[in-house]
């Protein structure tokens, strides 16, 4: 924790230190966003936006004995919520970043191939996609708690840190969210059974 604190302080002025932070957290943040969006291109954009925001706001960051990743997850969570609320495909600040740094992965052929391959991997996770589809039908406040708990395997205390809520509140949100998800799941399953042909039902 102390080493992380020193690294974050260094990263405020030293771009190499910021690069270290990026390497440490990129994959986890990207997969967390991907688990919420199930779309690689959107996950890439939101991950970029998360780190860009982190870079811009790093000078404001105050160490409170909470892992730095919690702060990044908080930014990521906000980006996801904004995305669902506004339905934006790409945040405008990313365009600025691309323009000023001449960074545009979409035009790179390799990056496009990589994106398609990654999306194919996502499509193979049918069970995840099924849950993800149901999850989008419940309010966002429940979605983020369930996603952090089951997609990213986080403990209640960690979720509470990220969402800046009390552990009791997180438990309550999780419980209510799961109840809503459960109802949808049962309804969805019974509908699927009803629409199957008699032959299919006999073999089931």
């Amino acid at each position: 924790m102390k080493a992380e604190k020193i690294l974050v302080e260094r990263a405020k002025k030293d771009s190499d230190a910021f690069g270290e932070i990026y390497e440490l957290h990129y994959q986890r943040i990207f997969n967390f966003i991907l688990s919420r969006t199930a779309d690689v291109a959107i996950a890439q954009d939101l991950t970029s936006e998360t780190f860009l925001r982190a870079l811009e706001k790093l000078w404001q960051f105050r160490w409170k004995n909470v892992p730095f990743s919690s702060w990044l997850f908080k930014i990521a969570s906000n980006q996801i919520n904004t995305h669902f609320r506004k339905g934006k495909t790409r945040p405008s600040s990313l365009d600025e970043l691309y323009e000023t740094t001449k960074f545009e992965p979409a035009i790179l052929e390799n990056a496009q191939t990589e994106l398609i391959a990654a999306q194919e991997i996502v499509q193979k996770h049918s069970e995840f996609l099924e849950i993800k589809k149901l999850l989008t039908k419940i309010p966002v406040k429940y979605q983020e708690v369930i996603a952090l708990r089951y997609f990213d395997q986080m403990k209640i205390a960690e979720i509470a840190e990220i969402l800046q809520k009390k552990e009791g509140t997180v438990r309550a949100l999780l419980s209510r969210g799961l109840s809503k998800l459960e109802r949808l799941y049962i309804h969805d399953t019974s509908e699927n059974l009803a629409t199957r042909s008699p032959k299919e039902n006999a073999t089931f």
Binding site: F30, T101, P105, T189
Partner: protein, 244 residues
């Protein structure tokens, strides 16, 4: 399928773990370039311009508030506003005082007229023999007469005296002849002041008196001062008689 299936699924859910090294590398380069740009440029100025748009509505509101407060303060401290507040305090004090009802009514009538007058203004402070330091206010009453009100400066809640300056022959008929216009010498006016003070102190315990002069010029005249014309509007018939 039962509802337990959902929890089993959630617990054992395989979330896609995807790696996109090309994108990751490109983004890292871009972020590091942006980081270096931020370090090389003066920090506050670009942020200031970026944030200007965000803070424009807040800034406008703040400016409006400051202007409002300044205007409000200026309005409150204006002669009309301060004169109004003095009159209001005086009215409250007279209403609570133990004055004789007639006298109280008369004083209140004048003060209420002053309160409603559009041209009520604070004339200044002066030293009087009878009431010490007083603050003088002037206004035009409903009959178009210029009236001067004196309020004790050390205790604004206690009106010291009310002087009206009106055209000859006019006056309040309810004051049983006290409104007659008379010409007096300085020594007589001193007497008026003394007797009025004695009379009113006996009634209210406060130095309150109502005077009207026939001079049409707005001129502040404290009891006992060198006024040439004055009418005592006391409700004490004996005193009024003495004044005549």
């Amino acid at each position: 399928m039962t509802e337990n299936d959902l929890f089993k699924k959630l617990e054992n859910l395989k979330v896609p773990q995807v790696e996109t090294p090309i994108y990751k590398g490109s983004l890292k380069k871009a972020l590091l370039t942006a980081h270096q740009n931020m370090q090389s440029k003066p920090f506050i100025i670009p942020n200031l311009f970026i944030n200007m748009k965000k803070f424009a509505p807040v800034s406008l509101l703040a400016v409006a508030l400051v202007v409002g407060v300044l205007y409000g303060t200026n309005l409150l401290s204006s002669p009309i506003a301060s004169a109004q507040s003095m009159i209001e305090k005086a009215i409250a004090q007279v209403e609570q005082s133990k004055m004789a009802p007639d006298q109280q009514q008369k004083v209140l009538a004048v003060l209420n007229q002053a309160k409603q007058a559009k041209d009520l203004k604070f004339l200044g402070e002066k030293e009087t023999a009878q009431n010490g330091k007083v603050k003088s206010l002037s206004f035009t009453d409903t009959n178009g007469k210029a009236v001067v009100v004196d309020l004790k400066e050390n205790d604004l809640e206690k009106p010291a005296s009310v002087e009206g300056q009106e055209q000859e022959g006019s006056g309040d008929s309810n004051t049983a002849g006290n409104e007659k216009t008379q010409t007096r010498t300085d020594s007589e006016l001193n007497k008026i002041g003394d007797s009025a003070e004695t009379s009113n102190t006996a009634v209210t315990g406060k130095a309150v008196e109502v005077k009207q002069s026939t001079d049409s010029n707005v001129e502040v005249k404290a009891p006992g001062a060198d006024a040439t014309e004055a009418v005592e509007a006391s409700n004490d018939p004996a005193e009024a008689e003495q004044l005549k």
